[in-house]
């Protein structure tokens, strides 16, 4: 493919040259097209991210326009039957082009973040060789001096909405992923087949230890998140209480000016009130350290989770290979004995169109035999891989558990030490204040 460049624009020239090179090297056929699009973009108007993905022209995106239009708060009971508030996002699907020019009403459905996660996990397992687009971050950070620092904060929700829309468009513009049936259903059908699907792609014989570990990891994540949220609110309140005492300082100081006998006592007591009010800043800063230690393990739970997922993947592949082998063996048996145990298209056709010749049968048997041997090799390999993984992983998990226990214990101890220090400061200040009052 040669593109004659009429323009002197250097960018376009480069893009065009790259485009030719790619075509020659027989890269993915879409790449030159993308570069061409990029070249076009340089010449003509700027295009949005969404536009550029549409430009790549998957079949799906030629048909549909996808938006994540809105976000809304909902309340309901979760899996452990506790009341919770969460956000749902509105997915809007429109036909891409309409004849007649009137825009059609969109099909819409509401989905929450966890459903997006489910979809992504499904894609991860189903297309293990593909780099699956990421989701926007799961949680907001825990900042104590912001009033609303959680997943329901409007700014966070908005950023997430954009991220989710981006995710859908990435998948929809992917040459392979865009053709996935489950993805299409995710966009169009409210009935969440994903839930039953997650049972489908789940391994048949999961390693109990990994299941337990995943569950532990999820619960730990929840608990630490909650602790951090509470900590932020407590810090906020405590700050308020301490700072109010600063007012005492001011009033005492002013009051001391009009008193003869009480003046000195009030004045010095006032200073101590100021000290007390100021002390909260250091106290809370020390507490941040504790919060950081908790956060580290919060993020660790994500890492643990991903190890569990990898194991699931490997296990799943092993099971698929084994299943595949079983099927082939059965086919061979059928072929050899002439009995049809399971319905198969091949069996039907032979019934319909007559038996095949002995030579054909021979060659087919031989091919199957070959396939079976390969299959057995694969199963052996996968088995070894799985076992290796489990062994190595579990080694590290034990190491991690020990580290976690030690680290968190130390964190709790240093929290206690911090509290003690805070109490000692309080005792000091108020003892001093009491002395001032006594001298009044």
């Amino acid at each position: 493919m040669i593109i004659e460049t009429k323009s002197a624009d250097p960018n376009q020239t480069i893009f065009s040259a790259l485009s030719c090179a790619c075509a020659e090297n027989r890269q993915q056929s879409t790449l030159p097209a993308q570069l061409t699009a990029a070249a076009a973009a340089v010449l003509w108007q700027p295009i949005t991210m969404a536009d550029s993905m549409v430009e790549r022209g998957t079949a799906l995106l030629r048909k549909l326009e996808i938006n994540v239009a809105e976000a809304e708060k909902r309340t309901g009971k979760n899996t452990v039957n506790m009341q919770e508030t969460y956000t749902v996002y509105l997915i809007e699907i429109r036909p891409a082009e309409t004849e007649g020019g009137t825009p059609a009403a969109p099909d819409t459905l509401w989905r929450r973040y966890s459903e997006f996660e489910l979809l992504r996990t499904y894609l991860l397992v189903t297309y293990p060789y593909i780099i699956i687009p990421p989701l926007p971050e799961k949680r907001a950070e825990f900042v104590w001096h912001k009033l609303s620092a959680d997943n329901l904060d409007p700014d966070f929700v908005e950023r997430r909405r954009v991220g989710l829309e981006n995710f859908l468009l990435r998948v929809a513009s992917h040459p392979v992923l865009s053709n996935d049936k489950i993805f299409f259903l995710f966009l169009t059908e409210a009935d969440s087949r994903l839930k039953s699907l997650s049972a489908m792609f789940r391994v048949k014989n999961p390693d109990k230890r990994f299941t337990a570990l995943k569950q532990y990891s999820d619960e730990l994540n929840t608990v630490i998140s909650q602790l951090l949220r509470i900590r932020a609110r407590v810090a906020d309140r405590l700050y308020g209480v301490y700072k109010v005492h600063g007012n005492y300082g001011r009033v005492f100081s002013e009051w001391s000016a009009i008193e003869k006998e009480m003046g000195d006592g009030l004045q010095s007591a006032g200073h101590h009130m100021d000290t007390y009010a100021a002390s909260i800043d250091d106290i809370l800063e020390e507490e941040e350290h504790f919060a950081d230690q908790l956060k580290e393990y919060l993020f660790y739970t994500d890492a643990v989770r991903s190890v569990c997922r990898k194991h699931e993947l490997i296990q799943y592949e092993l099971e698929m290979a084994a299943q595949d082998l079983v099927q082939k063996k059965q086919q061979k048996e059928e072929l050899a004995t002439g009995t049809v145990r399971i319905f198969s298209l091949k069996g039907m056709t032979s019934k319909l169109f007559g038996q095949e010749s002995p030579e054909q049968k021979e060659s087919r048997l031989a091919a199957l035999e070959q396939s079976i041997q390969e299959g057995e090799e694969t199963v052996k390999e996968k088995n070894t891989e799985c076992q290796e993984f489990v062994r190595a992983a579990w080694d590290d998990i034990e190491r991690f558990k020990e580290q976690k226990d030690k680290d968190l214990r130390e964190a709790l101890i240093s929290y206690a030490i911090m509290q003690i220090s805070m109490c000692k400061k309080g005792i000091q200040v108020w003892s001093n204040a009491k002395e001032c009052f006594s001298k009044m």
Binding site: H145, L147, Y216, E219, L220, V223, I224, Q226, L227, I230, R231, R233, V234, D236, R237, L238, Y239, G240, V241, K243, V244, H245, N247, Y248, V251, E254, W255, I258, E261, M262, G265, A269, D405, L408, R409, L412, I413, Y415, A416, I417, Q419, I420, C423, K424, G426, I427, W430, S431, A433, K434, F437, S438, M440
Partner: protein, 431 residues
């Protein structure tokens, strides 16, 4: 000191005829919580008063010959109204009392009557204020147990302040209040309402004329009273903000939220730590320990808040009311002076009725001198008393703060000890 108008606040002078001061909303409970710690003997009553280090306090306790308590509030329901009756118990060795022990029942109105009589007789003495009719900001639960208890304590303090006053405690009205089984006949006697009206009219007349000059010491006093009132109001507000639920303007990002809300949030820690503890194996002990520490600390905090509510808040609030009393006293003194000056001027300017006017002027001059002396004397006594009371309240609050932190310290230290005992050793000691 050029003359400036003395604004007459009529409400102070008018007898309050409003009958529903102590009207009750229907309370079914008519008894005080059991275990009322009211003492029954003079010696144990002595313990009620804060024994001071300074001489005056000691002296007062040692020479005290009359002890008054206010307790056992009970709802009374009649066809017309519902109100609370308080039991007033007096024990005394004074000879002008027929008996040494009295027990009577009085309602809030009766206290109001007593105070107004005392003020009438002694316009320039500082008569301790009563608790307010209504609590601030339209609290719906104004007649619940807390309100009644707070009021009871304030009434108790009121009577004790009167009984400690060198002049007021010998008032005839005070004696009648403490001893008469039925106060009603006494309340109807005397000039009472009419004389107050007369006084008010005079006050109006004088305020129009204005005060020629205020003696130096009273000018200083006035300034102090204004400042003091201002400071007391601030203190009151600050303390309320610490203890009760009050928010600052919505504009502020960090609203100053109270101890109460702090404790509510703190309590949330405990179930979360407990839940985490169930999740773990090795860490179960320390996590449960954390949960328990939080529970204990929040209990201590609640106790602390309770104490602040019972000691510091009422003390500060009382002195807010005292400041108002002081202002009223200053005004009355000013009025007495104004009256004298008016008559004196008449004497100087008019040529006729000289003798009659002279007599009147003399009477007013005496009255003024007496008023000034009363106030001067009482002023010192009041200041000492104020210092004692507030000092004591502040010391108590400071002590409670120290106690609170000491208790929390103990909680965390024992947690630390238990952790160090569990661990395999090698932990460094903390300074």
């Amino acid at each position: 000191m050029s003359g400036h108008t003395v604004p007459a606040d009529f409400s102070e002078h008018m007898l309050d005829l409003d009958e529903d001061e102590d009207l009750e909303v229907f309370t079914k409970n008519t008894s005080l919580p059991d275990g009322s710690p009211m003492p029954n003997s003079p010696s144990s009553m002595v313990n009620q008063y804060r024994l001071e280090d300074d001489d005056e306090g000691q002296e007062a306790v040692n020479t005290k010959d009359i002890f008054v308590t206010v307790d056992h509030p009970e709802s009374q329901v009649t066809a017309i109204e519902t109100f609370v009756l308080y039991r007033v118990v007096t024990r005394t060795t004074r000879s002008d009392f027929d008996s040494s022990e009295y027990e009577v029942r009085r309602r809030y109105q009766d206290f109001v009557w007593l105070r107004s009589k005392l003020e009438e007789k002694h316009p320039t003495l500082i008569v301790h204020p009563l608790p307010e009719k209504f609590v601030m900001k339209g609290m719906v639960e104004r007649f619940n147990d807390d309100f009644i208890e707070t009021r009871r304590r304030a009434l108790h303090r009121f009577l004790n302040k009167i009984s400690e006053h060198p002049i007021l405690s010998y008032s005839q009205h005070f004696q009648v209040f403490l001893t008469a089984q039925d106060l009603a006949p006494h309340r109807k006697q005397g000039p009472g309402f009419l004389s107050r009206v007369g006084e008010t009219v005079r006050a109006v007349a004088n305020s129009v004329r204005g005060l020629k000059s205020r003696p130096e010491e009273f000018a200083v006093m006035q300034e102090y009273v204004d400042d003091f009132s201002n400071k007391m109001c601030c203190m009151d507000k600050v303390t309320q903000r610490i203890v009760k639920e009050q928010r600052v303007s919505p504009v502020s990002v960090l609203s100053l939220i109270s101890c109460v809300e702090y404790v509510d949030e703190l309590k949330q820690y405990s179930p979360t730590y407990a839940r985490w503890g169930e999740l773990e194996e090795e860490l179960t002990e320390p996590l449960k320990g954390m949960a328990s520490c939080v529970v204990q600390c929040s209990k201590e905090a609640e106790e602390h808040i309770q104490h602040l509510s019972e000691v510091l808040v009422p003390a500060l609030h009382e002195y807010v009311l005292c400041a108002e009393t002081l202002k009223a006293v200053m005004r009355r003194r000013d009025n007495i002076q104004a009256e004298f000056e008016a008559k004196n001027e008449a004497l100087l300017t008019r040529k006729v009725e000289q003798e009659a006017l002279q007599e009147e002027v003399d009477v007013l001059a005496d009255r003024m001198e007496q008023a000034n002396n009363s106030l001067k004397g009482d002023w010192l006594r009041w200041q000492r008393s104020m210092k004692t009371d507030l000092r004591s309240a502040f010391i108590s609050a400071a002590e409670k703060n120290v106690e609170y932190y000491e208790k929390c310290l103990a909680v965390w230290e024992s947690f630390l000890v238990s952790q160090r005992a569990d661990s395999s050793g090698g932990q460094e000691d903390v300074a």
